[in-house]
Subunit: 224 residues, 2 copies
DNA sequence: GACGATCAGATTGTCAACAATCCGGTCAGC
DNA sequence: GCTGACCGGATTGTTGACAATCTGATCGTC
């Protein structure tokens, strides 16, 4: 399985994981201050460990620190989100290619099963479930590619923008297209057709990026 | 200019930068233990800061930490080096494309000047200088693309393998090909031909990866 | 009322001491 | 001679106290 986490079961790494989760899931808002003493108190750890965890998350891009002013949740700008989407696109296209090169029968069957569940979720109009399956699908492909370096990069990139992705999914007509795009990717991987898998993933994430851009523009319009 | 460093002028970030430099330049050997007290003493900082710096470098992939056993310089395996080279390839191809889209006349002139210096170094058979210009060239292209996210990723990836890159350059016939490949990249960017720049960079880094693979195999043979 | 000096509270940065753990060698027992 | 318990030095992990810095509020002056 996909294991891109630090293997150190350190207290500070533990805390970093919890904080990461809290930031990603939105329990801390962007720009919210992360006060060492409070966190130490809330998570029942020492302030030294809080400091270390914050430094790690800073390195990871989830948090920004300023000297003598502490840490706050990093706000990723729209521009940055697009940069991230673009980087993700090229890496994940590579991953899809490698997955197509390496997929065995068991893995192909798993992909097809997952695809069926995506389709079912789509037909039931259960977009929550669909979104979940979507994540699982991409992770399954990453697992097949078994490229630890790429997986680490993708995890970092995705964690920085998860909160924005929701919007992209909600574009009208997007789920139908998304379903078709995933179908193409799965077909290519199951046929061990590496170039097709790469370009299908490229197209898919290009569409995702465009949906994201539109969602962001719509949000900007709405602000006026 | 390329500024992918943490903007925090923290004492711990300072130290992290120094340690990073020391590791990259080989003053610390792979697998060498990094003892907190020694580092604190050597760099005249507090042990708490050493801990934070080590945690950051761990997150960055330059160092591994094990609970109660401290940190050591991470040894990247051959397999991993290839993964990294592959990831670098797709990202830097994207960067070349963006550079081609965005390059203005001043930047194009700078690229051409750099190219001339590369050629001069090649003709003088000064491979030290050539290697240096090579690095500058890639950085210059990154600067033009101005994609902070991609630049950050590339910096991390490259820092993990710099010590291996030397070997790749020393392959026989490699410098001549390298020079030609860089020429194609520069030409494409100067023509604002994005697809050509992307594919030229792809080809270049594919060749680099192959050279790296050969160098690694040669090293392995030599060990017997 | 606007502006700047000043102060208190909150927060981060630094430090040293202590506790917990690991690693290597030593020694008794078989 | 080999195995395994055991011990001491080395190193990491934890803690609390204190210093330095920032932030926002208050107050006096113009």
């Amino acid at each position: 399985m996909l294991d891109t986490s630090t293997h150190v079961t350190d207290c500070s790494s533990d805390l970093a994981a919890k904080l990461r989760d809290a930031i990603i899931s939105g329990r801390f808002m962007p720009n919210e201050r992360l006060i060492e003493a409070d966190l130490a108190n809330a998570y029942k750890v020492n302030r030294a460990n809080v400091r270390i965890a914050l430094a790690m998350l800073d390195q990871e891009g989830l948090v920004v620190r300023e000297r003598n002013r502490g840490a706050r949740v990093r706000l990723v700008t729209d521009e940055e989100a697009l940069e991230i989407a673009e980087a993700r696109r090229v890496i994940e296209a590579m991953v899809a290619r490698q997955a197509a090169e390496r997929a065995n029968d068991r893995q192909k069957a798993a992909l097809r099963a997952l695809m069926a569940r995506m389709r079912a979720a789509y037909e039931k109009q259960d977009f929550n479930s669909y979104s979940q399956r979507n994540v699982e699908m991409h992770r399954a492909i990453q697992d097949i590619a078994a490229n630890a370096t790429a997986n680490r990069l993708l995890q970092t990139l995705k964690s920085q923008v998860v909160r924005l992705q929701y919007r992209a999914i909600l574009q009208s007509g997007r789920p139908a297209k998304s379903l078709a795009e995933h179908g193409e990717i799965v077909d290519a991987i199951c046929a061990n057709d590496a170039p097709a898998a790469e370009s299908a993933m490229r197209r898919h994430l290009c569409a995702v990026k465009n949906a994201l851009r539109q969602a962001m523009q719509a949000a900007k319009q709405g602000a006026y």
